[in-house]
């Protein structure tokens, strides 16, 4: 090889640029000296090193010049090249960084690669890591549309020769690049504007547009420390604001793209660069790296405010360009390859998280099979599938999957029923509801939409914005999620999968899970799914001083999701805080460690109250409406009584014979000497809270009747406590029982196991048979007939027999022409007394004035939903003031005889005019002075503007907003959403802050060890 190299026709001049590279320089110099194809001439330049670099050069007898520290790499190379004698034919310059050591054969291999390829004017070696020399850094380089440096390699890719060969590339790194001198000089060398970073890509691009080729010759190898990029030395070059390499890199990336791309691509590129800079900045902020975030934005900013620099660069490039810039398009990575690369990376992370034990278990089995030499001679029976299905977790999930599928046979479609109202088709509808300040529910409401609506909308991203599908899937996969999360926790309590799997299975078919799914309880489902993670992370609740603040905020973040769905979790957490603080106070009496207990209190208070703050304004409104602390999303349908509740059933569906052994397990565990006892104490405490909750009657969420509170969220935690206690009990008890003689513990354990198994079998059987007839069903017919939704700005008093307990009772609500949707119950206003009286009058026949009252509130129709008692229909018929307009299978409709509308204008002479109105606001002309009444709930945000002035607003005798109009003219009615927008902004700030505090912080490159880098 060496002999062949000596025979080649080339002259090679190595150009070594040094800057504070004393750490790597000795090895670099040695590498240059040991090349199998000797370098013809070597010249170095030092850019103001303050270390021993120049001394090392001197001792190596390499001729060098020195220059100032702010001179860029390209400029330094040009200075060396200019100092060289006239260019000879076939003269090449070999660019060497002071942190890049070429392998002995590198130069020989590079020359061999270019020898038969006259079109190639730039060739580079395969770059490997300096410390880990199997780590593949680059084999050619390009630039993505968003400015990212694109190598086409995976992170920390191991070099196994998988990319070997000579490849045509856009560019190669200047570290070890061999460039034909004549071309280098012809196209002006490296751009002096690119003092560091991306000068290689820029040069390669220019070489390509000048009609030449660039080659990555992977037989040539060099080891590169990437000292500047990895922040191993200070970047002093001109333009490196605040010595920040990232800032310089991003600026230069944008410069390269904008200077070299076709002009018609520039607008799109600018947008792309800005967008990706903002996205990356957000990412860095989340990783608590504000400096990097600033670099991203500053880099683009500094470039775009000086467009003349780009224009000048483009002019220069135009001079040397022989072919179109589009020639490089083949080397620019398409967007899909970036996405694929990113998703592959993500999948790899997930795979390594999910199957982290896979390799180790396989390895151990291989070793075991080789232990006996005879086994080597025996043909291996490969029965992977059978073994796969015999794994307890697979069996458990499969059985639960089948049960869930059978149980969900009536719930495959748009779900509605029970506590769950119909989900809007698109996530945008949910976002709209979340942001809007006025809700067209009943007589109208300005209540704050709870945060869970935003979470459902956010979750709909998984179903491409189809919120309805997301909710259906959530209900479908909930049992599996619940089992999976429980298993995550139980694996920490026992190594025995044959205990943890059945226990998590029981959690997934516990009464509270079955009831929550059947009655459409979103909050309970979310809590059941996430509670194991909360319990897992909050296990050090009693010695919380040892938990880091970041973890405290992580728990607070998780609890924020719980609070968003139901503030009952706040009540539980608050009770927990009070109980533990009292306990600490008692301990403090003995230990007198004020600092310790103060520290504990601070952290616990943060866990309990930070999520409350994150959920403003909904949580603040709850202080004024305390019933909100005991409700969960959707319609307030009654929960179970106290007795069923303490047996773990919050009510809804389960037959009386299906009794879970939760209470029994907790009572038995109380007498255990293991940690099961502590868990049982928590469980019993939670069941006591559940009993109290279930004894409370509340009126909330658009239901003014007194309804039993649903204790599902509390029972979810109690059930988890029972499952954990049972797991620990069984795990610890088993060895004891095996070794001891038969006594009462054996009988008690047998009884516990028996009742648990009986429950498991009965619950499974119930689930797949009558359990499928849940309150929540798919694709149910709507309540409101379509013809009532034709008119706009319509209010209809709907009467319907609703089942309450075991009785049916006529109840009413004001419809806006259609059924309610998901979040409506949460923001529904309380009943208006006058309307309630009018409705009563309709039903008992005493309502002679009902029609007038309804007209006063803008209610145009009365709709009695079938089936309803004939007597009620006849009573309304006989009342007067109502004209029956239709009778269909859906029900009977009467028109209120007194004309009415949403906007009623009464002129000064008493003439009533019903004005056209939009869904919320209105813009119309008034013929004269008078009084305008809006038949919506009074709210301070209703504003009527005329000639730019707000008109005086007051309440009329019905409590409706009324405006005094002094003159004729155009008016605008609006509901001012400034306050709502303000609250949401505050909430977003709180949430993002909590998110940033909770997420693990990123590391700067200088904080990453050499070993990790390469």
């Amino acid at each position: 090889m060496a002999a062949k190299a000596v025979e080649d026709k080339f002259r090679v001049v190595a150009v070594l640029v040094t800057h504070n590279g004393a750490l790597w320089l000795p090895e670099v110099v040695a590498a240059l000296g040991s090349q199998t194809r000797p370098i013809d001439f070597i010249s170095a330049i030092d850019t103001g090193s303050t270390d021993t670099s120049t001394k090392l050069l001197k001792s190596a007898r390499i001729p060098f010049t020195t220059t100032q520290a702010d001179v860029g790499y390209g400029q330094a190379v040009s200075m060396v090249v200019q100092s060289l004698p006239e260019c000879e034919t076939d003269e090449w310059i070999w660019l060497i960084h002071d942190d890049c050591a070429p392998a002995p054969t590198a130069l020989a291999q590079l020359l061999e690669a270019v020898q038969e390829r006259p079109q190639v004017v730039m060739a580079g070696p395969k770059l490997l890591g300096w410390h880990d020399r199997t780590h593949l850094l680059e084999a050619g380089v390009s630039i993505a549309g968003n400015g990212a440096r694109w190598t086409g390699l995976e992170t920390n890719e191991y070099d196994q020769g998988q990319h070997d060969g000579n490849h045509d590339v856009l560019a190669v790194s200047t570290a070890g690049a061999l460039i034909r001198r004549d071309v280098f000089e012809e196209i002006g060398g490296l751009d002096p504007n690119l003092t560091l970073f991306r000068d290689d890509v820029d040069f390669g691009w220019r070489v390509r547009t000048a009609g030449h080729s660039v080659l990555a010759a992977t037989n040539a190898v060099a080891y590169h420390a990437q000292a500047s990029a990895n922040e191993r030395r200070i970047v002093d070059v001109e333009g490196a604001l605040l010595h920040r390499p990232l800032l310089l890199d991003r600026r230069n990336a944008a410069y390269v793209l904008l200077a070299n791309s076709s002009w018609w691509m520039l607008p799109w590129l600018t947008i792309q660069l800005l967008g990706s800079a903002v996205a990356r900045a957000i990412g860095y902020l989340l990783l608590k790296l504000p400096g990097y975030a600033g670099d991203e934005l500053l880099a683009i900013g500094t470039l775009l405010i000086k467009p003349q620099e780009i224009l000048h660069a483009r002019q220069l490039r135009r001079k040397h360009r022989l072919i179109s810039s589009r020639v490089v398009s083949a080397y620019i990575p398409p967007r899909w390859s970036q996405i694929r690369h990113g998703s592959e990376h993500l999948i790899e992370i997930l795979r390594s998280k999910l199957f982290r034990h896979e390799n180790s278990s396989q390895a151990s089995s291989v070793l075991e099979s080789n232990e006996d030499e005879e086994d080597l001679l025996t043909p291996v029976k490969s029965n992977e599938w059978a073994r796969f299905f015999k794994r307890p977790e697979i069996l458990g999930f499969l059985i639960l999957g089948v049960i869930t599928l059978l149980n969900s046979r009536q719930r495959l479609g748009d779900l509605v029923g029970g506590a769950l109202a119909l989900t809007p088709e698109g996530a945008t509808d949910l976002w709209r509801v979340y942001f809007e300040s006025w809700h067209q529910v009943g007589m109208g409401s300005s209540s704050a939409t709870p945060t869970w609506v935003a979470f459902i909308a956010l979750g709909s991203v998984l179903t491409v914005g189809n919120a309805s599908l997301f909710v259906t899937l959530l209900f479908l996969v909930s049992p599996l999620l619940i089992m999976w999360s429980a298993l995550h926790l139980l694996k920490k309590l026992t190594q025995n999968l044959w205990i943890s799997i059945p226990a998590s299975f029981l959690y997934a078919i516990s009464p509270v899970t079955l009831a929550a799914i059947s009655t459409g309880r979103l909050a309970t489902l979310v809590i059941l799914s996430l509670a194991p993670f909360v319990v897992s992370s909050i296990s050090k609740w009693e010695t919380i001083e040892n938990v880091r603040w970041r973890q405290i905020f992580s728990i607070a973040l998780l609890l924020s999701v719980f609070y968003a769905f139901t503030l009952m979790t706040f009540v539980i957490a608050l009770i927990g805080l009070i109980a533990i603080t009292i306990s600490d106070y008692e301990k403090h009496a003995h230990l007198a460690n004020e600092e310790l207990y103060g520290h504990r209190f601070k952290k616990r208070a943060a866990v309990v109250f930070v999520p409350f703050i994150v959920n403003i304004p909904y949580s603040l409104e709850a202080i004024l409406q305390p019933s909100r602390f005991l409700v969960e999303p959707g319609i307030a349908i009654p929960g179970a009584g106290v007795v069923k509740t303490v047996l773990g059933d919050p009510g809804g569906v389960l037959p009386i014979w299906l009794v879970s052994p939760i209470l029994l397990v907790l009572f038995v565990s109380l007498f255990s000497s293991t940690q099961a006892r502590r868990m049982a104490e928590y469980g019993i405490g939670l069941l006591a809270i559940a009993a109290v909750v279930s004894a409370i009657n509340i009126s909330a969420h658009g239901n003014d009747a007194s309804t039993k509170a649903w204790a599902g969220p509390v029972i979810a935690f109690a059930t988890l406590a029972a499952i954990c206690a049972g797991t620990v009990l069984l795990d610890r008890l088993r060895p004891t029982l095996v070794l001891s003689h038969i006594h009462y513990r054996h009988y008690l354990s047998a009884f516990l196991l028996f009742t648990t198994i009986v429950y498991g079998v009965l619950a499974s059987a119930f689930s797949i048979t009558t359990g499928a007839q849940s309150l929540v069903q798919a694709n149910r017919a709507t309540v409101m007939p379509a013809f009532l939704n034709v008119e706009g700005d319509l209010k209809i008093l709907v009467l319907r027999e609703v089942e309450s307990g075991n009785q049916k009772k006529i109840q009413f609500f004001i419809s806006r022409g259609k059924d309610i949707s998901m979040s409506d119950p949460d923001v529904a206003p309380a009943q208006t007394d006058a309307i309630a009286q009018a409705a009563l009058g309709l039903i008992d026949g005493s309502g002679i004035t009902s029609s007038t009252v309804l007209a006063d509130f803008g209610i145009k129709y009365v709709f009695a939903k079938a089936p309803i008692k004939k007597e009620t229909i006849r009573t309304i018929d006989g009342l007067g003031g109502f004209t029956r307009t239709s009778e269909t299978s859906a029900g009977v409709v009467w028109q209120v005889a007194t004309p009415t509308g949403r906007l009623i204008f009464v002129t000064e002479n008493g003439t009533k005019i019903f004005l056209e109105s939009g869904v919320e606001g209105a813009r119309t002309n008034l013929p004269s002075a008078g009084t305008l009444t809006l038949t919506e709930t009074y709210n301070r945000s209703w504003q009527l503007l005329q000639d730019g002035y707000r008109l005086e607003r007051s309440k009329n005798e019905q409590g409706l907003p009324t405006f005094k109009v002094e003159q004729a003219g155009e008016i605008s009615l609006i509901h001012d959403g400034t306050i709502r927008r303000g609250w949401i902004s505050l909430q977003v700030i709180f949430f993002v802050t909590l998110l940033v505090l909770a997420l693990p912080g990123g590391r700067r490159k200088r904080e990453i060890s050499d070993k990790e880098l390469a």
Binding site: V692, N703, A781, T782, F812, F813, D819, D877
Partner: protein, 436 residues
């Protein structure tokens, strides 16, 4: 192992559980509104006169066609009605209207609250008839009423009429099945607060053959008891007492097999030919009832394999005048109050074992208690000074009706509640109404 802590936990839990249960039990409550809908009495048509018996002079009433909702106290215990139908808030008491054509006939009927359906078994549509159906709408909106007639020729064309708010319609009964002799009408309001009354009046040329107010029943049943059918001793020179005619209709699709039992002082028996008699579905069937009973009244119990409606027509002659009455089935007797001022009816109780406690209120305000005990049938005539009868206690399976005689004729009314207590749970605003 220390047991103190677990036992403490269990004790606290049990205390909380007990208290929660206690709170749960005490907070369960429901709120209702209770009212007795006002009853409506038949209007006085031309040539007729009416009096309504009431139990209190303070009973509020208003004329049907009054536009105002204001009521006035009746001030008297027997209120003559000039023309209009009256709406009376009589609460628990059922007023009785006595209507008559001077010197020709008399009849009684209950004033009732609005009902879902009314069956009238009586009247005919042949040349002798002068009968009319009065449909009253006491509501404030127009009402639509379906009238389905049946005759010996089967089911007739359904007729639907509209009655204006606070008004009534008078329809000649011969329009329902012209020429047919035996009628049964079902009045079913589709909408509105509707009551109906039927006046059955017959004549031949200028000669009156009598008349009656036909009481209605709310629906067909498999067992009917008609508690008061008057008898008349054979006239001098005659051997047989007068005939009774049973009119029966099985309104369903299946023929009915009926058996008629007679309950009289002489015992319970099935007259010859009235055991297991086939009644064709949808056709009004009449057959004679000639029981050999010596008492002045008897009762019948009709048992059927299918739901039926029925009535018995009895003709009574006195002082050269002839009148008839329609005895209709009575519902099982329950606690109720009937206003009988000025009627001095003969009250007839029927049932296997009769044991009825009665409070009798006299016009002077005094209350007298009375018990009626017997088997099969028992009669009792309250004094003429009685204003109301209150049944305070009654043995199950008892029925009662009353026969009223006056100078103009004879009438019948069943003992039944005119206005049922409407107990309505106060509705709440509940958004669940709008969720499928």
């Amino acid at each position: 192992m220390k047991l103190t802590r677990p036992i403490q936990f269990i004790t606290i839990f049990l205390i909380v559980f007990g208290l929660a249960n206690l709170v749960d039990a005490t907070t369960t409550s429901k709120t209702y509104t209770e009212s007795f809908p006002a009853v409506v009495c038949s209007p006085t048509l031309a040539g007729l006169s009416s009096q309504i018996s009431l139990s209190s002079t303070k009973t509020p009433f208003q004329r049907l066609q009054d536009k105002s909702a204001k009521t006035s106290p009746v001030k008297v215990l027997r209120l003559p009605v000039i023309a209009d139908s009256l709406v009376i808030s009589s609460e628990t008491t059922t007023p009785v209207i006595w209507q008559s054509r001077a010197g020709r006939w008399g009849g009684a009927a209950l004033c009732r609250g609005p009902v879902a359906s009314q069956w009238f078994v009586g009247a005919s549509a042949d040349v002798t008839t002068r009968g009319r159906l009065v449909v009253i709408n006491s509501g404030l909106s127009d009402s639509i009423v379906d009238i389905q007639a049946f005759s010996e020729n089967g089911k007739q064309q359904l007729q639907t009429i509209t009655v204006k708010a606070k008004n009534y319609s008078v329809i000649p009964v011969d329009t329902f099945a012209p020429g047919d002799q035996a009628l049964a009408l079902l009045v079913e309001p589709q909408s509105g607060r509707v009551n109906s009354f039927m006046i059955d009046e017959q004549g031949q040329g200028l000669r009156s053959l009598g008349g009656d107010l036909v009481n209605s029943v709310s629906g067909a049943n498999k067992t009917l008891v008609i508690p008061a059918i008057p008898t008349q001793k054979p006239a001098r020179g005659q051997t047989k007492s007068q005939n009774h005619v049973i009119r029966v209709l099985a309104p369903g699709q299946v023929d009915a097999d009926v058996t008629v039992e007679v309950l009289s002082e002489t015992g319970v028996f099935i007259p010859v030919g009235l055991d297991s008699r086939l009644i064709e579905a949808g056709r009004v069937t009449e057959f004679k009832l000639e029981p050999d009973v010596s008492s002045e009244v008897f009762a019948i119990r009709i048992k059927s394999t299918e739901p039926i409606v029925a009535a018995v027509k009895s003709r009574i002659s006195a002082s050269g005048k002839s009148d008839y009455l329609w005895s209709t089935p009575s519902p099982e007797l329950s606690e109720l109050t009937m206003a009988i001022t000025g009627l001095s009816p003969l009250v007839v109780f029927a049932g296997d074992q009769i044991n009825v406690s009665i409070d009798l209120k006299l016009v002077n305000g005094k209350t007298v208690s009375k018990s009626v005990v017997g088997n099969d049938i028992a009669t009792w005539r309250p004094p003429s000074s009685a204003r109301s009868i209150t049944i305070t206690k009654v043995k199950k399976g008892s029925y009662a009706g009353a026969i009223v005689t006056s100078v103009n004729g004879i009438g019948y009314f069943p003992f039944a509640i005119g206005s049922e207590l409407a107990k309505i749970e106060i509705p709440d605003s509940n958004i669940q109404v709008l969720n499928p």
